[in-house]
Every structure is written in structure tokens, then in C-alpha cells.
Amino acid sequence: MNRIRNLQGSTLVLTLLALLWVVVVFVLLVLKPSVFSLATVTTILQFSTILALVSLGQAIVVMAGGAGIDLSVGGIVSLSAIFGMLALKAGLPSFLLPATCVFAGAVLGAFNGILVTRLSILPLIATLGTFFIYSGLALALTGGAAQSGVPGWLLIWGRSVFSSIPAPFLTIAIPVFAIAGIVLMWTAWGRWIYAIGFNERSAHLVGIPVDRARLILYGLSGALSGAAALISLAWLGSGRPNIGQNLELESLTAAMLGGIAISGGRGGVGGVFAAVILLVTLKTGLLQLNVNTVWQLGIVGALLVFVLLADRLSQRWR
């Protein structure tokens, strides 16, 4: 116990997450030994790719403080997937589809950023409003119907597997997290984000453009959600207007589990990544055990509340 208590910051988070993951895997193995096959690993990583990108966006927005939160991530995923497919139907050349999805996401995210930084609307209210606008638009524009017609070459990329690791995970999730980690750890930009989140006023006083940085982060979060939308298209083969459902809750849970402080200025992307894997393993495991999917939402919600309470309690003990 003493060794665990002596661990600091991200090491502590990673150790705890790894322990939890081992517990989850162990329980699953005992309950249903046939669960673990390479196919399950592929499924877990495929689901993780979407959640990981969205959670990363959520994490950087929360990290930059100022009560930052992005409740609209799920809406952005749905709307950029639908927007891409509708643009394709309207005659967009198919090689532009990836760029269109990411760009649409970035624009939607930047709109959040403008509301928060230029109009100084509270992030939670601004993104709650845009959450309903974006996800409502995705449903209203399609009448709730899935949009088919994803180009074949995209499906090949989205569904191919290299030694049981899905291609999108290898080519998008890992590079994006690596870049995010490097930027946060070793560049001035990364230091700025922590500084803004830790103490906005002093960050402002040393000349960091707080508002512009936050605007960019909201745009970036949107772009990551757009990339997640693209992956959902390439994997599922159709644009579903409700694909982003509950992603705001799951991404927040992953970010909090991963050690991002809700008040900003603390946390790292490694923890978020580990938390995503843990969450998706838990969800996939429950699915394999034939637990009804409605339980997933409740378990994720309970985890979120539990993590926040545990965080407060552990701070009190120190």
C-alpha cells in the first residue's frame, strides 16, 4: 500500500487503471472463458478508436480550464458523419470525404469556441445548446434514416486488420495520441494549455493568448470528433444520425478516469488512452456476457460519479 501511496500523478493513474483493467479481464475470464479471442481484441480496439479520439478532444478542452467542457462531442460526431454523406450524395468527389468530415467537425467545434471565448457564454450552457442543435440537425436532416453509400476504398481501410489490430487504430488513434502527448509534454504550446488551466489570470499576465488558445482547442476537439465520425463511416459502412449518442457521457468519464482534473490544468493523454481501453473492455465484456446494453449507460454514469467522488476523497486524505 505504501508504494501505491508514494506514486505521483500520472504514474499513479496509470497503475490504478492497469490494476482495474486486470481485475475486469480476470472477472470476465472467470465468468466466461471463451470471451477472450483475437476477434474480441479487434472489436475492443475498433470501438476504442472512436471513443479515444472523442475523449482526447474532451480532455484537452477540460484541461484548458475556465470551466471548460464540451457536451456537444456526440452531436459533432453524428452531424459530421451525416454532413459528409450528404455532401457525397450532392456530388462531392469521394476522395474529399475524409477531409470534409474532419473539416465539418472543426467548424462545429470552432463555433463552440466562438460562443465560449468571444461571447463569454458558460461552456456548459453553450455546448449543451449546440449539443441539441447538432444532434437534432443530424436527425432532422435525414429523418432518422441511415445514409448508405460509403466509397469502397474507405471501407477497405476501415475494416482491414493487421495482426488483429484494426487499421484505423494503427493509422489514426496511435499517431494522434503520440502527437498529442509530445505536444503536451515537450512544446511551449502544451505548457500553455496546462498554464491556462492551472491559473488563467497568471497565464494571461505572462502573455499567453488565453482566448485564442481555447478557441483553437474547441476547434481541435471538433476536428477529433470529425475524425471519429470518419472512422465510424469507414467501419460501419453507413452514416447513422445517432452514432454519437451518449459519447458526451462516455468521453467525460474516460477523461475523468484518465486523471484529467475537472477544474483543469492537470492530467495527461496516456491516462485518457488507458481509461478508454478500460471502458471499452468493460462494455465489450458486458456485451459478451449478454448483459442488456441499457446497463452500459448506467455503469458508465455510475463510474463517472464514483471517479469524481474518489478524486475528492483522495485529495482530502493527502
Binding site: A67, I69, L71, L115, L119, S120, I121, L122, L124, I125, A126, L128, G129, T130, F131, F132, I133, S135, G136, L137, L139, A140, G143, G144, N246, E248, L249, L252, T253, M256, I262, N292, V294, W295, L297, G298, I299, V300, G301, A302, L303, L304, V305, L308, L309, R312
Partner: protein, 325 residues
């Protein structure tokens, strides 16, 4: 300091312009749709406003205190299941009417425990509870609708005394109770002080924890009361119950002039905000806009009003400066 001398129905510029917006919307929709200006439709709008009004009053208190609750929709769903089950089991309608507020208050206590004692931001805490409660509704209903409930509660709330249904008295009583609590008791002052600055409120000796607990419980009880009306009105509980109620309530309260930063609120504004929202939603439906567009319209209204406020504030500040020179 005007806010401390507020009458039961005092109106300011904000409320008058909301009233004007309501009248304008009614005129426009009456011209656009022949089905709009009927007494039957007016009744529908008013009936549909009841739950939102009660929940809106609770949300107004929370926002004025600097809190928020995005789980009100599912809290109402859970309370409605409680009321429905009690009604279905043949409990006396007068007693079942109290099941709603009691369940709501209990769930408010749960939220307050997590948020106040756990010192968790209200938005994140209630978002987590939203997930848990949504699952609880699915599990309690077991994949089916609760439907075909007895009419006891409907009859009870529809019984007229002196020409008005009991429902109207209950709503008026709830409104008055909130008004008294907010404008005529130390509790109201404390609540607004916490909304202005929690730290200053604590330093000036206000029992912050107690007041925040009480506010969450009151909001929960009002939401539970809304569930009683919901069951009396529709006599069924579906699985997706209340999925946009939280947004509707926040939008209506913000429309009504309550500050999302806390410390300022308007009771009449909340009533008018609820009415305007329901008039718009009902009117757009009758004009032929599919109901899928409703969340887009509500969300747009919320963002639009907030942006307009900020921009007009800046404009008047600019004019003030020019006039000064």
C-alpha cells in the same frame, strides 16, 4: 436591489418583451395555420406547459444558485414510474399525488449528496446520474410501457372548485411557495448570495451546504410534482420519457431572464419563458415542421438569446462611451 422588493407578478422590460413575443408568436401562427387559434389548441399548449413550468421553477432556483441539473427529465421519469405503480396498485389517488414529490425530493437529496458533499461540479455530477437513472428507468419498466393506468388521479386533479380545477390551485400554490421562499425568507437571500459568490457567502456566515442541499431537494420535489401531473395527463410512462425536458427547462429559464452565472432570477420571466417555448413548439408543429426539428429550435433559441444578450450589452456599453465623449 430591486430583486429583493419583487412583487408576486412584478414585470420589468424583460418580462414585457417576452409577453410581446408570446403575443406576436400567437398572431403569426394564427395567420399561418387554420388549426392554431382554437380553444382546444390553447388548452393543449397550457396542459403541455404544466410539467415544464414546475420543473422550470426548480431549475430557476438551481441556476440562480449557480447550480444546474441536467437529469431533471429522468428524475421526472422515475417519479412518474413511482406514481404510476402506486396508482396501478390501487392506492388512493390523494396519496399517490404525494408519491411524485416525495420520490423527487429523495432523488434531489441523492444529487445534493453527490454534488454538495462530494464537491463535484453540478453539470458533471448530474450527467453521471442521468446515465444511471436512464438505465434505472429501462430496468424498472422492463422494456415495456407503463400504460392504461387508472383515471383516479386525472379525475382528482380535474375536479373543479369555484370554477377552477384543483390542478390550477396546486400550480398556483407551487408558484406562490417558490415566490415566498425566494423573496420573503432568508433562504431566498442566501440562495442568491451563493449564486453571486459562493466564497463570499460562506465568509459572511451563510450556511452554504444547508442552502444548497435544500435547493436541490426543492427542485427535486417540484420535478416530482411535475411527474404527478404527467401521469394524470397521459396515464402512461414510456421509456424515453423526458429526454429533452432538461434542455427545455434551461432554455425557458434563461429566456425568462435568470442569469446562468447565478445571483439573479425572475419568476414571472420563467412562466413566460415556458409559455413562449411551448407556444413556439406547438405552433411550428401545426405549421408543418416535423417534430425532429424541436431540439434544434430550442437549442438555437437558447444560444441565440444568450448571444443577443451579450452583444446588446456590449453595444449599449459602446454607446455609453461615445455619449460620454
Amino acid at each position: 436591489m430591486r430583486q429583493f422588493r419583487d412583487g408576486v407578478f412584478s414585470m420589468t422590460g424583460r418580462e414585457w418583451s417576452l409577453l410581446a413575443a408570446c403575443v406576436l408568436a400567437i398572431i403569426v401562427f394564427s395567420v399561418a395555420s387554420p388549426y392554431y387559434a382554437t380553444s382546444g389548441n390553447a388548452g393543449t399548449v397550457l396542459r403541455n406547459s404544466i410539467e415544464l413550468l414546475l420543473i422550470g421553477l426548480g431549475m430557476m432556483l438551481l441556476l440562480a444558485m449557480g447550480g444546474i441539473d441536467v437529469s431533471v427529465g429522468v428524475v421526472m421519469g422515475l417519479a412518474a414510474i413511482g406514481v404510476g405503480r402506486a396508482l396501478g396498485a390501487g392506492v388512493d389517488p390523494v396519496l399517490t399525488a404525494f408519491v411524485g414529490p416525495l420520490t423527487g425530493a429523495l432523488l434531489g437529496l441523492v444529487a445534493a449528496t453527490v454534488i454538495v458533499l462530494g464537491r463535484v461540479p453540478a453539470i458533471v455530477g448530474t450527467l453521471g446520474l442521468l446515465g444511471v437513472y436512464r438505465t434505472a428507468i429501462f430496468v424498472l419498466l422492463g422494456g415495456q410501457w407503463l400504460s392504461g393506468l387508472p383515471t383516479g388521479l386525472t379525475v382528482l386533479l380535474g375536479t373543479t372548485i369555484l370554477g377552477l380545477p384543483i390542478a390550477a390551485y396546486v400550480i398556483a400554490l407551487a408558484y406562490l411557495a417558490v415566490w415566498v421562499a425566494l423573496r420573503r425568507t432568508p433562504f431566498g437571500l442566501h440562495l442568491l448570495a451563493i449564486g453571486n459568490s459562493e466564497e463570499k457567502a460562506r465568509l459572511s456566515g451563510i450556511p452554504v451546504v444547508k442552502v444548497r442541499f435544500a435547493t436541490f431537494i426543492i427542485s427535486g420535489a417540484l420535478t416530482g410534482l411535475a411527474a404527478t401531473f404527467y401521469v394524470a395527463n397521459y396515464r402512461n410512462v414510456e421509456m424515453t420519457v423526458g429526454s429533452t425536458l432538461a434542455l427545455d427547462a434551461i432554455a425557458a429559464v434563461v429566456l425568462g431572464g435568470t442569469s446562468i452565472l447565478g445571483g439573479k432570477c425572475s419568476l414571472v420571466g420563467t412562466v413566460l419563458g415556458v409559455l413562449l417555448l411551448r407556444i413556439l413548439q406547438n405552433g411550428l408543429l401545426l405549421v408543418g415542421v416535423p417534430s425532429l426539428w424541436q431540439p434544434v429550435v430550442t437549442g438555437g433559441l437558447l444560444i441565440g438569446v444568450l448571444s443577443f444578450e451579450v452583444l446588446s450589452n456590449r453595444l449599449s456599453l459602446l454607446q455609453f462611451r461615445w455619449a460620454g465623449k
